[in-house]
Symmetry: C2
Subunit: 343 residues, 2 copies
């Protein structure tokens, strides 16, 4: 803080002691007499002494802050994750510094640079949809920066990872559509190379195969930029709806894309589920209140944030570099509502 805080030196001067005595008294060292301790403690209490975290950081070569990079804060899924991150970090006395990549690789590089320059002790990251080159992360990781990946994983880098069972999420959603009688089922995901796309798409394909249905590539669309810009999704949907074999249902693999579809349908007077059914990954609080209420694959976002943070802090506070890394897989939940059920 800008205003003058009480320092150990101030206390020492006021009490006619040396700074080391005061320091030790405050840390309840066995070397200090009870009388002195009491004196110091009372003075410190009264003047609201707080150790200066910056001085401590400099000394200990750790900042007690962790960096977080997500594509967007203003997105239910990620804000719930951040909530989970904060809940753990706060308890352990760590700062959380949040940066947004806005799904841009370039911006992710800037963020990373910024965070590195802020001396973070560790990094939690869900890589941007554009990111397919991981050198920037590898380089930092090799220099010793503890990293934990969550949501969108980087397989190339060996460290802790936390995600949901994306394959099963995709499989369950697609199976649900099939069981409800929908024949041609489209899939819209973020960039093709993303780990979540790979897994969710894999589940989608497996479900089709298990039900002896063909996998039709013209029904599979990717939004390279994560559908952050509506136009991107609009193009994909325009293409799907101009197909001879129009889809009867869509499985969408991200929050933004899911709600974007609803918006497209509304503006094109396409009825859900009569004209087309919809199941999508979404953590929106409002899914039950939408028109129609939305069948979703929901992720335990809060827990994901918590688990990732616990792993990161464990990594940071480990005495000897750990060589055993975990890849935690959390369950998804299929919540069935009106958007996917024929009336």
């Amino acid at each position: 803080m800008k205003f003058e805080a009480v320092t150990i030196k101030d206390i020492a001067r006021a009490l006619g002691l040396s700074t080391s005595t005061v320091s030790r008294a405050l840390r309840d060292s066995y070397e200090i007499s009870e009388d002195t301790k009491k004196l110091v403690r009372e003075y410190a209490q009264e003047h609201n002494y707080r150790p200066n975290p910056i001085a401590l950081s400099l000394k200990e070569k750790r900042s007690r802050s962790i960096g977080v990079i997500v594509c967007e804060i203003a997105n239910s899924f990620f804000s719930q994750i951040i909530n989970g991150i904060e809940s753990i970090a706060y308890d352990k006395g760590y700062n959380v510094i949040i940066s947004q990549s806005h799904e841009s690789f370039e911006r992710e590089l800037l963020d990373l640079n910024y965070l590195a320059s802020r001396s973070i002790d560790g990094l939690l990251i869900s890589v941007s949809t554009e990111t397919s080159d991981f050198e920037h992360l590898k380089s930092l990781h090799n220099k010793g920066l503890p990293i934990v990946f969550f949501d969108r994983i980087v397989h190339d880098i060996t460290t802790h990872k936390v995600a949901v069972d994306n394959f099963k999420g995709g499989y369950d959603a697609t199976t649900h559509l099939i069981k409800n009688g929908f024949k041609s089922i489209a899939n819209i995901s973020i960039a093709q190379h993303s780990s979540i796309t790979q897994d969710r798409l894999g589940g989608y394909k497996q479900a089709l195969e298990d039900n002896n249905m063909p996998v039709n590539d013209s029904l599979i669309k990717f939004c390279k930029h994560g559908g952050l810009a509506y136009e991107e999704l609009e193009n994909a949907l325009d293409e799907l709806f101009s197909l001879e074999n129009k889809p009867e249902a869509i499985f969408t693999a991200s929050d933004k894309i899911t709600t974007g579809c609803l918006r497209y349908f509304k503006s094109h007077n396409i009825r859900v589920p009569e004209d087309i059914a919809l199941v999508g990954f979404s953590n929106s609080d409002l899914a039950d209140l939408l028109q129609p209420s939305l069948t979703v694959v929901k992720q335990p976002a809060f827990e994901m944030g918590q688990v990732a943070t616990e792993l990161l802090l464990q990594l940071i506070e480990a005495k000897r570099p750990d060589k055993q890394f975990e890849s935690k897989v959390l369950p998804t939940e299929l919540i069935i509502r009106d958007s996917s059920v024929k009336r």
Copy 2:
């Protein structure tokens, strides 16, 4: 970062110079010869030297980080605000440390304590709905911590403040309902003492009066805890619907309360707007996709975050303590959709 970063000392040793020379060379001091500068710059570049922000903080007695306290991150309105805050802070090289009060006074005290102990240079806060005692903030403010209030303002403390024209927002929403033929109009807000409640309720009352309609206190409800718990809102609605003179419309004064009403109506099979009309403050991205699409009073949240941050940084970086404080008032926008219009 945990891993060893290159320091000025390292460069000095490697180049056979003194640390002061290196420091000056890097800062392009006129005292240093071009040759030396070039030598130092190249070495620094090559070894990716970054000044240690912690050491700088210690020296400059400023942390280049600002604290933010909001009730919740996972709320469109506040996540948009945080977006605005980050956009400015990032540009100016400041960290943003976010804490959530979860609408609890006690938690707000803890947050404040935590942030103060992290040596923030300034504070942006929208006080919790429970907060009616401002001594904790006054005390920090008096000690010299720059504070800017946004959204939920504290009038008792003289500093910069940023909010929307809440009175007009309430007035416009209520007037809109009146013009659409609704007679008995209820109002549900967060805690009565909150600045936004005062202003929005004021606008509501004024609109009624301007249209020669009575203000009926039994139609005015407060959610002391901000409606974070659904039960609180449920009770308020139960009471409203058991009135002899049931409301024909509701004006809700916060995001959580607005969508909570929709949820209540849905579970009670109350049709909107046939059985009851609804207009509420909300910044949800999904308001247009809800059932029914929601008439909202929308706030320029992103801008609010930006303006508040600009004012705070101005305060922090001011040479001499400013005595001229601004209270910025941003416009609200009434977006009319189906929830408030008789069919």
